[in-house]
């Protein structure tokens, strides 16, 4: 398979994920953005793995990434639920407790 389009795709996904994280006024949407970015990394790993088909290091890493992503999603959702319960909102902008 050609490798170049995958890189471009991963760059696109990362950027879109970043934009979603920064721009969207909804915590769950932010989580989705994070997932998108992690997937972009995964695509990269898998694509590079094609250069050394014997070792499969990339695939193993992608597995770890997935696991981390799942953990992150679980914890993140738990936090969001708690925040929603506490602040009655899921808009991250309205939670300004971190104000310096």
């Amino acid at each position: 398979m050609p490798i170049q389009p995958l890189y471009i795709l991963s760059a696109l996904l990362l950027s879109i994920g970043l934009v979603i994280v920064i721009v969207k006024r909804n915590a769950i949407m932010v989580l989705m953005g994070i997932e998108l970015m992690l997937n972009a990394a995964n695509i990269n790993l898998i694509a590079f793995n094609q250069k050394t088909p014997q070792t499969l290091d990339g695939q193993v890493f992608s597995l770890f990434v997935m696991i981390i992503a799942v953990c992150e999603a679980a914890i993140g959702l738990a936090i969001i639920l708690q925040v929603y319960r506490h602040y009655k909102t899921s808009v991250p902008d309205e939670v300004t407790e971190l104000k310096g």
């Binding site: 389009p5 920064i22 094609q50 992608s62 597995l63 997935m66 696991i67 899921s90």
Partner: protein, 169 residues
């Protein structure tokens, strides 16, 4: 164009399109669906890249786990019976600036260097799943174990956090 190539570009386009839809969609439930299609597309790309195990894990973990989890989150953070929350945007300028500049930065470097894959010989004899299993339990045994501990911690933590109720006083 071979069928394989067509399939590859089809899924590339599908992933990119879903991601862009995700960026512009207003309804958060539609966003979750767009994410699902994006993740499935990625899984298909994994298969095309000879990473069957990753693809399967992708489908299981993301489509089966994360997206369902997200939909549950949506449900829980929405008042029942109300319209799904329309997603507003904030700081569009900053986001587009950062995202765009990052994209073009990466695009620039991707285009600058030329990646050539080695001549692939079909490895029918090599079993990917077996190789991964061996790898995980030999070279990557430490991360594997740590991941297990992490998963345990996440399980406990998530349950604790989600189940936490503020005291009455």
């Amino acid at each position: 164009m071979s069928l394989l190539n067509f399939t590859f570009y089809f899924f590339c386009t599908m992933v990119a399109g879903s991601a862009i839809t995700l960026l512009f969609v207003k309804n958060i439930f539609h966003a979750a669906l767009a994410l699902l299609s994006c993740l499935l597309g990625i899984a298909a790309l994994f298969i095309l890249c000879m990473a069957e195990f990753s693809a399967v894990a992708q489908i299981l973990l993301y489509a089966g786990g994360v997206v369902v989890l997200l939909i549950f989150g949506i449900m829980l953070t929405n008042k029942s019976g109300a319209q799904p929350i329309a997603i507003g945007n904030t700081g569009i300028f900053g986001g587009v600036l950062v995202g765009g500049s990052l994209f073009f930065l990466m695009l620039f470097f991707v285009n600058k260097s030329i990646f050539i894959l080695p001549i692939q010989k079909p490895s029918a004899e090599s079993n990917t799943i077996k190789t991964i299993g061996v790898e995980l339990l030999t070279d990557y045994v430490l991360p594997f174990e740590i991941t297990g501990i992490l998963l345990l911690a996440v399980l406990a933590g998530a349950a604790t956090i989600a189940g936490f109720k503020p005291s009455k006083n």
